[in-house]
Symmetry: C2
Subunit: 279 residues, 2 copies
DNA sequence: TGAATAGTGTCTTTAAGACAGTATGAG
DNA sequence: CTCATACTGTCTTAAAGACACTATTCA
């Protein structure tokens, strides 16, 4: 990377560092924004905040905020912002899967200045209703179905224009971030056991199947899914117990499972259809 | 994201924006750094520059530089930096695959100030030897084998400590960026046709196999690989022609292929072994 | 001619999917 | 009792891998 003023005296690096002025560059701000997904009543929801201040005052936006310079790395900033804008305490946060999604840095994506946003993706079990943070008029879990284009989840990859706009427009380019997050989430379910991150510590195979069905947006074959999940080493491990009662519409009491120790699924649980390669 | 001073007059957004001072925040700088990979004489090489100025003066580092505030998005910045630090003209750049890898933002990764680096991954066909850019004493394609830990490519994922350090230490945290890039490259070969990005426009199946073997670090079965590549729809398309001569050690003249129009491989070309799930 | 390579055929094993069948428990 | 559900069994098909074989070209 270029230095502020190249070709300094090579022996006097410390003096050079002392004289370095961090304000000399045209500033680019760095934020983290979090796409936190959860399932409530079998429906996929995303955590949104209503902006209390300009720009986009009153609009819904992803929770996030500026990285504290010199104080935290990006993962820490994302965890901090997620905790600040939700009623999530540190204990509950440990149950949340948080991973970096990608960075977005179009010069005009924020009208104030050039802001690079490092987007994070979070998978959470059903969490309490959030309270509004310091800069939000409100914070809520919003059904993704009220934001996604009618096209539905199968159609189109990241480049498909039909999936790049949301129905209820979010602030900034947060609609694009959400689209990217959903794409990533759908494909993460294929080759990782992260579907379990949406569930309580103990769950049934049907619970797990419901996660896949909701996020992929299609029904799966119960019998084949059941066998497949149990055949992948390390995906789930049995507890030896069952639920106290059968389902609301009858049936035997399903067995309870915990997440196994696999971090990747082998073989993967590939999505059906996808009519051959997406070109 | 939080605003500079929340709870402004909601009706006067434009005035608020005019009064906005981009220098008010503790500054975080944003750079792009590029892990450009190519094959030279069947060996994987990475583009490195030797730093002409502090910090890390004299060390090898990934090419990169500061994002020009307000002037370019991240992809453009990466393409610009790659072009600046190589002898690559715009025409050749179109043959290079460039994708975002991820962002790195530990507060102390740069001694000057808090710098968030957006890392990019580039796959290039054999390009000319680069010239040194403005801030580099030298620029060169360096064999990845001289930087990677002895462990070899199979062992360990991103979290394995044996792969997180490089033998020849790079400046900043660029060793970690390289490790992440190699992981990404290895897995991208599985489910995308990007191996072709390392080859000329026309290539043989053996050329393609050599890409996989070098990047995955293991020999593949020639017959099965051949059939597999031809069976994946849209991976390659025949030209109807063959090379002018057979191999240096004999054999029939292999047929020539071009890249097909698939953007994902279905079914994927999974890496062998990987002894079940990586836990 | 000998050796290495391109390309194809075939067999085995594994996995995915379609479908059927049995047992369980709620209403 | 009825019906949805939890699971299991079985068959078909697709794909991966092991292996063998032929044809072609360079040395």
């Amino acid at each position: 990377m270029p230095s502020q003023s190249p070709r300094q005296d090579p022996l006097d690096e410390q003096a050079w560092l002392d004289a370095y002025d961090p304000h000399a560059f045209a500033p680019v701000a760095v934020t983290v924004d979090i796409v936190a997904l959860t399932l409530r009543q079998q429906q996929l929801h995303v955590l949104l905040v209503q902006r209390a201040a300009p720009p986009f005052q009153g609009s819904w936006a992803l929770p996030g905020g500026f990285v504290r310079a010199g104080q935290e790395d990006l993962d820490q900033a994302a965890a901090r912002e997620l905790a600040e804008e939700t009623a999530v305490d540190t204990a509950a946060l440990r149950r949340v899967h948080l991973e970096q999604l990608g960075s977005f840095g179009a010069p005009a994506r924020d009208p104030r200045m050039h802001v690079v946003s490092v987007a994070y993706l979070a998978f959470a079990p059903d969490l309490p209703t959030p309270r509004a943070g310091t800069d939000a008029a409100a914070a809520a879990w919003i059904p993704v179905s009220s934001l996604e284009p009618v096209a539905g989840p199968h159609r189109g990859g990241p480049g498909d224009p039909s999936t790049t706009r949301t129905r209820v427009d979010l602030a900034f380019d947060h609609g694009a971030l959400l689209t990217a997050a959903l794409d990533r989430a759908r494909s993460k379910l294929e080759y990782t056991p992260l579907a379990t991150a949406f569930l309580d510590r103990e769950f049934t195979i049907s619970d797990l199947r419901a996660v896949y069905e909701e996020i992929w947006g299609e029904k799966l074959h119960p019998g084949n899914f059941h066998r497949k999940v149990l055949s992948v080493p390390g995906f789930v491990e049995g507890t030896g117990r069952t639920t106290a009662h059968g389902g609301s519409r009858g049936g035997p009491r399903p067995r309870l499972y915990r997440r196994g120790d696999a971090r990747l699924l082998h073989p993967a649980l590939l999505r059906p259809d996808r009519e051959e390669a997406i070109r």
